[in-house]
């Protein structure tokens, strides 16, 4: 008896598809899956659009300066008498009366590009970050009654109850409803709720988008992306490694803070600059992320390596380290991935970032023991 290979392959494929929940029209989770896919597409389109804009500006001889996502406030350093919510002020000074309820849920995006959101105290922290900013999502469902004139949502990075970093975002004082967000911002994909939950939107920019995210309890929220700079408000630069507590408050037009939500923990990762003990022959001119090298060996006609390092953004950081030494081209292939400025002319193919002699893929991964890592695959270029 012989095996009919074509039929057997068909049986295998059909069985695999039937046992997968992916795309099952009867499963509510499919709507969430489509939301997430659409959000990823929007995000990548936005990134490509931003890069295209920068290229156009460069071609015109202009100097394109892309500012950080959040505007840093010029707050005085080390002022023990600072107003509530200001740099070096005490968290305990934030107004907390019955008219100061602030409904904020914050979440992090993990290394797999999935965001989870929760109120403070729900056990959902905001991750560990290497690059000086945290890729977060936020939902503001209530602003303080006393803060009718609130014009900004301010994030406070604190340690030992003292504000060490601040960043703020313009916020609308008139809420949308969740349904409105779904129908107008997310274009009606799967109206999964009949609740008219209020949502106070942050100012919309080219680099901000709406998405549907889950809470750790499985509920769904509409949320906006926020890139929270992990920078000291006293002008000393990046916050040193350690764990910080994030609070949110609102600020009106004259700078008065109303309401407080938090804390969520966020960690600024320590840099482990231990030199990597690479095997003989491993290319020395490929910049690798700092951390603990746990594997490096030949991989086909190339090399593979794995480095244990923390950070939700470790994959992005690894790619950003490759970009400065990568090949550049005025004609980036249409199917190439586009990096953000100033590396929009770096060639990134499916094989990875193209360096002289090597195409290098760097992806966030985990070791079999569960430690966060970055895996490098080096493929020889002709």
């Amino acid at each position: 008896m012989s095996t009919r290979l074509d039929l057997a392959l068909q049986e295998v494929a059909e069985a695999a598809g039937a046992s997968s929940g992916f795309g099952d029209p009867e499963t509510p989770g499919t709507a969430t899956t489509v939301h997430r896919l659409a959000a990823r597409v929007r995000r990548r389109r936005a990134a490509r659009g931003a890069a295209t804009t920068a290229v156009a500006a460069s071609a015109a001889g202009a100097v394109a300066l892309v500012g950080p996502q959040l505007t840093r406030e010029a707050t005085p350093a080390g002022d023990p008498d600072a107003d509530p919510g200001e740099c070096r002020s005490a968290v305990a000074d934030l107004p907390s009366g019955p008219r100061d309820v602030l409904g904020v849920e914050l979440g992090q995006r993990d290394a797999d590009d999935v965001a989870v959101i929760d109120p403070a105290g729900a056990g959902q922290d905001l991750g560990t970050w290497l690059s000086g900013s945290a890729d977060l999502v936020v939902n503001v469902s209530q602003i303080p009654d006393a803060g009718v004139g609130a014009t900004r949502l301010r994030f406070l990075l604190t340690q030992d109850g003292v504000v060490l970093g601040t960043a703020h975002e313009p916020i609308a004082v008139t809420p949308l409803t969740t349904d409105e967000v779904l129908s107008t911002r997310l274009e009606g994909i799967g109206a999964w709720t009949t609740d008219h939950l209020p949502v106070y939107p942050l100012e919309e920019t080219d680099r901000r988008w709406w998405e549907v995210v889950e809470t750790s309890g499985g509920a769904l929220r509409v949320a906006q992306t926020v890139e929270l700079g992990l920078t000291a408000c006293d002008g000393s630069g990046a916050l040193p490694p350690g764990t910080y507590q994030v609070y949110a408050t609102t600020v009106d037009a004259v700078g008065t803070a109303r309401g407080a939500a938090g804390p969520w923990d966020v960690e600024v990762a320590a840099d482990d600059a231990t030199p990597h003990a690479l095997p003989d022959g491993f290319p020395q001119d490929v910049p690798l992320i700092d951390g603990r090298l746990v594997a490096a060996h030949r991989h086909g006609d190339g090399w593979a390596a794995e480095i244990v390092t923390p950070g939700n953004d470790r994959g992005t950081v690894a790619v950003s380290l490759l970009a400065p030494v990568a090949l550049r081209s005025d004609h980036v292939p249409a199917d190439a991935m586009v990096l953000g400025p100033p590396y929009q002319d770096v060639v990134v193919t499916r094989a990875g970032v193209e360096l002289p002699g090597w195409a290098v893929r760097a992806v966030a991964s985990r070791t079999p023991a569960g430690e966060p890592s970055v895996v490098y695959i080096l493929t020889a270029r002709p």
Binding site: T3, L9, Q10, A13, V41, P368
Partner: protein, 190 residues
């Protein structure tokens, strides 16, 4: 809803499982297959190739699945753990070419195990040739390989599969009707 989101929604709901099945043939891992499909969907729709009718969008997604897999799909998967694919357990006595009266399940399992023995490019050649029903020339074009290379991959892969499965009806690159045991096959929608 915008056009591309309509297409994405419809594609996932109507063809999502078929795409996962196709990706599973390549990866041999259900979770990795789902990840591969999702990455391929994002890649396709990011490039604006998913705004046509579902059949056209699906073709682009299948192509993205294939190229991502062949070029070394490692996302969300630790490369070192892939080695276990080569350590396929021996088929049980009821599996494989001597399968008894319940051949469908046992053959499926045996084929899954045998596929896991193949290197990525050989596996891709087998899937394209015998699941996607491509000609050797089409396989070569899809994988950016020469026809001779594809023939060699198919030959090597067939030898490996036959070492586990016994004779493979229809695995020869000669037209299917040359094989006595091959029946007329009405291909079902995948």
């Amino acid at each position: 809803m915008s056009t591309w989101q309509d297409a994405l929604d419809e594609l996932v709901r109507t063809r999502g499982r078929a795409l996962v099945g196709y990706a599973y043939l390549l990866t041999g891992d259900p979770r990795e297959a789902e990840d591969l499909v999702q990455d391929a969907l994002v890649r396709t729709f990011t490039r604006g190739r998913g705004t046509r009718e579902v059949a056209s969008a699906e073709a682009y997604v299948r192509r993205a699945i294939l190229t991502t897999y062949v070029d070394g799909f490692r996302r969300r998967r630790h490369w070192a753990t892939i080695r276990h694919l080569a350590a396929v357990p021996e088929p049980t006595p009821s599996d494989g070419p001597d399968a008894g009266p319940e051949p469908v399940i046992t053959t499926r399992l045996a084929v899954q195990q045998a596929l896991a023995l193949l290197p990525p490019r050989e596996r891709a050649c087998i899937v394209l040739r015998h699941f996607e029903d491509m000609t050797v020339a089409q396989v070569a074009d899809a994988l950016s390989l020469s026809v001779g290379t594809v023939k060699r991959y198919l030959s090597d892969a067939t030898r490996t599969l036959e070492s586990r499965l016994g004779d493979l009806a229809g695995a020869d690159d000669a037209p299917a009707h040359h094989t006595d045991e091959v029946l007329v096959t009405v291909r079902r929608s995948r």
